[in-house]
Symmetry: C2
Subunit: 267 residues, 2 copies
């Protein structure tokens, strides 16, 4: 049976709330996912939370109760609580009715098998967790293998990134690496490294892309460092027909990823 | 000379701070833009703020001082203030060093001349101001004419939308309309209405797109209502190769917009 918790000072409540903070996520090896839609997505791919909290009441969705019961049977700490406490945990007036804390997967590059997918997304110093989550969501849509985050990126396991991923955090591989680690790993196997850049005349529509293709997008305001661009097999540019000189990073990744998939359609 | 303001209770400070709220924006007909990059972008297309606030000091960028001086010469209320007051106005610990309040443009559909651009973006019940700003930024990149917002969308003049637009709020036309108003206006002239949908087998790569093309993207979680889809000239679907059934709305708009432009490249 789930424990009934109605006090803010309960240890599990405190522990869940702490997971909004990166240090606590790292120390515990856990991350938060909020809302029935993402929890159901996780369950569908065989992932159950280690801690679950939900608001009891007649409005509780049967699927939420089912996920909580399954998680409990698998050994999770399950607490039934109030909307007020969920609001306190999420920092929102209208919190989701259920949330779960999940074990973070292995984020070592060595855990990635590049042969399982023809396309991989690579982000360099991405600072916006929403962009990271959106890139995971796009990666799922184009059947990319996952997202490799280079150097100092925002945390892909932050609440904001998980939310923007719409569940893709559970289906896409995520790896974290320095540039040197990434290049050493990349060059130890097959792979075309394609960078999006403003410093090239190659229109993105012209080249032919080779699988496994590693699509590299740089920092939101600075783009890729020149030294990194120099190590790409191919630099391409999306035409900017207006006044702005760049796209949102997640948009650039998506336009490129969909084009690369489209260019492979009739092979 | 700019007025020196160091008190939170100053009327201009209060007025600027109030513009973070939609009601005040509507009542005043103004909106806020923050940061030198966006203010410079606005100035480059001939738009000056009616109110300007900046933090005085040796770190002030010469361009910020220049924009403030130009605005003052054009009759703007210009105040020189402190970082603390800017932080209070923006609700952020690290505020931008300059902000401006701009006159909202005419958002009537009748102000749009569809002949000036081959592509227009149309959003229906978009709830996320970040998506609206990102669509404006993408629209600039593909030389769209602007963004038409249908029914109950988030405010394109919110601080978050303006920030995500990266200045495109000053270069793209914005119109607000109900669906019925939009359809009546659309059908009174040339235009292909293309809806992105999950309810079709037409892959987005197959059709030929006709200018002026109106690219319609629906609500973030619900997509387009069936009745609206039925009035489109063409419904297309982006293939979803993974588990998710949809893309982020701004991503979907960008993938479509870049594909449509690409399909016109060799005409």
């Amino acid at each position: 049976m789930p424990r009934q918790i109605t006090g803010f000072s309960n240890d599990t409540v405190k522990r869940l709330r702490a997971l909004r903070d990166k240090k606590a996520r790292r120390a515990e090896g856990l991350f938060l996912a909020e809302g029935l839609r993402i929890l159901a997505e996780a369950r569908d791919v065989g992932r159950l939370p280690e801690i679950v909290a939900y608001a009891a009441g007649p409005g509780l969705h049967p699927l939420a109760a089912e996920i909580a019961a399954e998680a409990e049977a698998a050994g999770a700490d399950v607490i039934e609580t109030t909307v007020e406490i969920l609001a306190k945990m999420s920092g929102k007036d209208n919190p989701q009715a259920i949330l779960g804390a999940y074990r973070q997967p292995d984020t070592a590059l060595s855990a990635i098998d590049r042969a399982v997918a023809p396309l991989w997304l690579v982000g360099e110093r991405l600072r916006d967790p929403g962009n990271i989550g959106t890139m995971l969501r796009t990666g799922d849509a184009v059947a990319a293998g996952g997202l490799i985050l280079i150097d100092d990126c925002a945390d892909p396991f932050s609440v904001e990134a998980v939310r923007a991923s719409m569940g893709a955090i559970f289906t896409q591989k995520v790896a974290l690496a320095s540039w040197d680690e990434f290049i050493a790993w990349l060059r130890a196997g097959p792979g075309q490294l394609v960078g999006t850049s403003l410093q090239t005349d190659h229109d993105y529509l012209d080249p032919s892309y080779a699988a496994p293709c590693f699509l590299l997008v740089g920092n939101e305001s600075q783009g890729l460092p020149e030294a990194y661009e120099a190590q790409c097999d191919l630099l391409v540019k999306m035409p900017m027909l207006g006044r702005a000189d760049s796209l949102n990073a997640a948009v650039a990744a998506a336009v490129m990823a969909f084009h690369i998939r489209a260019s492979w359609r009739n092979r």
